[in-house]
């Protein structure tokens, strides 16, 4: 049976006003069933008020090999941080 099942990533919003957070994944036949299993597997103890399920195959993710070109060039641009500015008088923090 599991051969036919697709992988879904599950996101739960724990309270109104908060973001959906990734909590794990599960297998299901279609999105509707994934939503129901997410309810049964991840919200049994009142963890959430809203659920998202996303087919794992629909997520485009950065790769480990992208790290050099994606993130390293940011290391030498400290002026992008607000820490470079002098604080005006009377202001404690920005």
């Amino acid at each position: 049976m599991s051969d036919h099942l697709k992988l879904y990533e599950v996101f739960v919003r724990s309270r109104r006003g908060l973001d959906h957070k990734h909590v794990g994944s599960l297998h299901a036949d279609d999105p509707e069933q994934a939503l129901e299993y997410a309810r049964d597997v991840y919200t049994r103890r009142g963890e959430g008020v809203s659920l998202w399920v996303v087919a794992a195959g629909d997520i485009t993710a950065s790769q480990e090999s992208d790290c050099d070109s994606f993130y390293d060039p940011l290391d030498d641009k400290p002026y992008r941080h607000a820490a470079m500015y002098d604080l005006p008088e009377g202001i404690d923090s920005l």
């Binding site: 049976m1 599960l26 297998h27 069933q33 129901e36 299993y37 049964d40 597997v41 049994r44």
Partner: protein, 252 residues
Amino acid sequence: MTANDPLLTYCLRLGDDALILGHRLSEWTSRAPFLEEDIALTNVALDFIGRARLFYQYAAELQGGDATEDTFAYTRDVRDFTNLLICELPRGDFAFTIARQFLYDSYALLFMQQLKASQDARLAAIGAKAEKESRYHVRRGREWMLRLGGGTEESHARLQQAMDDLWGYTDEIFEVDAVAAALIAEGVAVDPAGLREEWHATVSSVLAEATLRQPSPGWAVDGGRRGIHTDDLGFLLAELQFMQRAYPGLQW
């Protein structure tokens, strides 16, 4: 243990339906087709066992004395149980479990919607809680009916077989005896006969959608409400009650 109070008798019937069906579902724990469905089935089993507790707790108050919810679950014998026969049939294959749940849950949803309006405040509160659970059970059941009915040749054949085997047990669900009739007249109990048409419409439409043939009526059995059961209930109780029978009063 015989109950002379009609309300007590009624509570035990509803509690017995929930306990016995919940136990049958719990037999799937660790044996379901895959992990997610295992958790889902166990969840539904717990819904039913929780429902049984609410009915038995109320029954214990009505009975008074030393009675507790456990008295009803663990110390009555087969003939004292008054659940519908459809609840006690062995779990069968997965298609049978889905078919039974769909037939029973479709009824339970309609039933709980009306129990919520009972003149008896306790029953009304249980109905309100159970209705939400049943709505979810029906949704799950319907989707599995469509999935198995429209799945492979084998899943279709197994589901059709299960429906044919179960159909004759559905008549009993809608029967009204003297105990129920008196409580229905007082606005305490739900009249199941009044639910039959809507139940049939729901079930027929899902059967059609799942490309299943509606079983032709031709046989029907009853007896559960009078304590007349299949052989299978005794084996179920032997397992369910073993600890309290072997070690009476055991606490853990």
